[in-house]
């Protein structure tokens, strides 16, 4: 191909012009191969500048464009658009950053000019080996699969349905509502909880574009963002339904830590030792009684059960344990309550107040370790080490254990067949703790609520709303999805089938073609990081737009 490269150097007002001798740069690159024209211009990103560039491209029938201006993080897209409008492929363009990383960081004009020449030459050398890349567009399905019918799944369904999305809500149990269906009230505002979720469930059942599957499990999710094929099996009727969606939400919540792993608490051995969830259910049925149907006169609440086993703090157990004090005092005003905690975790703007207002007569908070529960007649004896390391005892009628939260038992299974990784504590891993907290490394698969980690109802709702926002802004009906174009490619003739790249890719973009014994990149899933390129022992992988040659050409000029 006959290349015709045009080079344009931006003055950026005084920003570049004062720091770099632009004429020297022009002089240095004018005689290079393939260069048709080299010009300077006041403000290339202005409307006038863009028009000027468009005219120049046409006037000189340019095939490639090099702009020496600001950071690609500022105006790469601006100039790629100019290329598109002027009918040259936007990837036959290279931007040399002579402002942020040259003019602005170099005091000496001569040095800055030399560096600008190197950067511009590198951009020219690079653009010579650019290849045109074509945008791909795929049709997308705007429907959404939500797995888990707890508050996270219900909130996300309601909000997405309000935006006229079709929702498939899959719940493994025979009822919706998840954990919170069992709670009479929720901390810290002590508003009705079970009643309000039951109301939401009624609402959701009436919305025609939410299809609810109870007693069901998802068996298969194949495909990619915008185009997932789903199979759902009804566990009772054994029939399987298939449908397509564009995005998937994991809202599988959590379960309680298995207390049988901590036999020192006597759970299952002695009467009147309950888990927090059993106590919620007892309170909801308005019958806080002992096994012998008598009203308890004293109760101990044990915090942080299983925390050491799990290796993380479950965030909510302290708060709901304090809520239990409220429940107990509301029902049995003269009851004695002893709270055995290890660290009180009461973060958030309203929680401290909630805790302080829960103090009073016959309510003790004791920091304790090495708790052991035995039977003492009809009662329970709690032996513990207090803060000064002294062995102490306490006798009560009833014990409530507040165990850690752990991922739903099905999380691991779901993770395995979808390839979404598990992170700390085996909860689903977010794509990025700070940047993308409700996305996963699989594009189009999101996480909300306790599936991502233990959290309160309000934090769960915040995540459900975040997921809704993410989905509504990325999966738009009628709008085609544009996957990354700068993706990896595997050369059939170089690949030796070692499968190294399969494990390397965080996105599962590479699969193995058993027939031909080579690996293949799924271009729709690949994000273009280039990790597999560096990992391949036989140099079989090329990352488009960041090929070895392209980087090599830049490198050669950089060391001049």
């Amino acid at each position: 191909m006959n290349r015709k490269i045009g080079v344009y150097i931006c003055e950026c007002g005084p920003n570049i012009a004062e720091k770099i001798d632009i004429d020297k740069v022009i002089e240095a690159v004018t005689s290079l191969n393939d260069i048709v024209t080299v010009e300077r211009y006041k403000l290339l990103c202005s409307e006038a500048g863009k028009n000027y560039l468009t005219e120049q491209i046409k006037k000189h029938s340019l095939t490639h464009l090099v702009v020496a201006a600001c950071s690609p993080r500022d105006h790469q897209l601006t100039f790629m658009e100019v290329c598109e409008n002027a009918k040259i492929n936007p990837y036959l363009f290279q931007l040399a950053n002579i402002r942020e990383q040259c003019a602005w960081v170099t005091d000496n004009k001569e040095e800055a000019t030399k560096k600008a020449i190197r950067l511009t030459k590198a951009a020219i050398a690079r653009v010579r080996c650019h290849s045109p890349l074509e945008k791909k567009e795929i049709e997308s399905n705007p429907d959404i699969l939500i797995i888990g019918g707890g508050i996270a799944g219900i909130e996300a369904s309601l909000q997405l349905a309000h935006s006229n999305r079709k929702i498939y809500l899959v719940e493994k149990n025979s009822f919706l509502g998840g954990l919170i269906k069992n709670f009479e009230k929720k901390y810290p505002e002590m508003q009705p909880c079970s009643a309000s979720i039951l109301q939401k469930i009624e609402t959701i059942k009436k919305i025609s574009n939410i299809k609810i599957f109870t007693d069901s499990e998802v068996q298969e999710i194949l495909g990619f963002f915008g185009n997932f094929e789903v199979k759902v099996k009804n566990k009772k009727e054994k029939d399987i339904e298939s449908f397509n969606v564009g995005a998937v939400v994991f809202a599988t919540g959590s379960s309680l830590f298995d207390i049988n792993k901590n036999p020192q608490y006597g759970y299952g051995k002695f009467d009147n030792v309950l888990t927090s969830l059993e106590f919620e259910q007892m309170n909801l049925s308005k019958k806080i009684v002992l096994k012998n149907n008598k009203t308890p006169k004293s109760v101990a609440i044990i915090y942080c059960v299983g925390r050491t086993d799990k290796g993380y703090c479950s965030e909510i157990c302290c708060m709901y344990s304090i809520k239990f004090v409220r429940y107990l005092k509301d029902n049995i005003p003269d009851i004695k309550i002893v709270n055995f905690y290890s660290d009180l975790c009461i973060p958030g703007k309203s929680h401290q107040k909630f805790y302080e207002q829960t103090q009073g007569e016959n309510i003790d908070f004791i920091r304790a370790e090495n708790i052991d529960i035995t039977k003492k007649g009809e009662q329970l004896n709690i032996s513990y080490d207090d803060e000064t390391n002294r062995k102490k005892n306490c006798i009560v009628d009833m014990v409530i254990l507040s165990p850690a939260l752990e991922p739903s038992v099905d999380a691991a299974k779901l993770a395995e067949f979808t390839g979404v990784p598990l992170g700390d504590g085996d909860f689903f891993a977010e794509e990025h703790e700070k940047l993308n907290p409700v996305s996963t490394s699989t594009q189009g698969v999101f996480i909300a609520g306790c599936a991502q980690g233990p959290k309160s109802i309000s934090d769960t709702i915040i995540q459900a709303e975040a997921v809704t926002g993410k989905i509504l802004s990325s999966l738009i009906p009628g709008k085609k999805i544009e996957p990354e174009v700068k993706v990896s490619q595997i050369s059939e003739s170089f690949c030796i089938g070692c499968k190294t790249c399969l494990d390397i890719c965080s996105y599962g973009a590479i699969t193995f073609d058993e027939m031909n014994k080579i690996s293949v990149v799924n271009e729709v899933i690949c994000r273009g990081c280039g990790n597999c390129v560096a990992a391949c022992p036989s140099g079989a992988i090329t990352l488009k737009h960041f090929t070895f040659n392209q980087i090599y050409e830049e490198l050669k000029e950089a060391v001049q």
């Binding site: 950071s71 690609p72 993080r73 950053n97 402002r99 942020e100 990383q101 040259c102 003019a103 602005w104 960081v105 170099t106 005091d107 000496n108 040095e111 800055a112 030399k114 560096k115 190197r118 950067l119 590198a122 794509e431 990025h432 703790e433 700070k434 940047l435 490394s441 700068k486 390397i504 965080s506 994000r527 273009g528 990081c529 280039g530 990790n531 390129v533 560096a534 990992a535 140099g539 990352l543 960041f546 070895f548 980087i551 090599y552 830049e554 490198l555 050669k556 000029e557 950089a558 060391v559 001049q560």
Partner: protein, 140 residues
Amino acid sequence: MTEQFEPRIVGFLCNWCSYAGADLAGTSKLKIPSSLTPIRVMCSSRIDPVLILTALLQGADGVLIAGCHPGDCHYNEGNYYARRRFAVLKKVVDSLGLESDRLCLSWVSASEGQRFAEVVNEFNEKIKKMGQNPMKKKML
């Protein structure tokens, strides 16, 4: 010669953190030795050992690879791979009789313009002390 020695340092910067950090050094008008020529890549994990060796063989006096802090890579784990490959490469470079001190791997976030300037300045001083890459003389 050492007095006027102007090193050539190639800086492979990942798009999401270190390149952004380098831009911030610019917008903050910090000073960065002009010996550094940045090359933008999407992730530090793209930089394979062959590219680094090529840079050395081409006469670079120093090669800097900068990526997101551990745990912050835009592509999850790219920088962990980069770190491991870098550790292995250093050994290979030593065993080839080349100077592995001419290589530097560093983490710079998008908000660390100051840190970027410090990393480059420090590395530049070190390379200045080391003098020219002997490969360059061989080539001439």
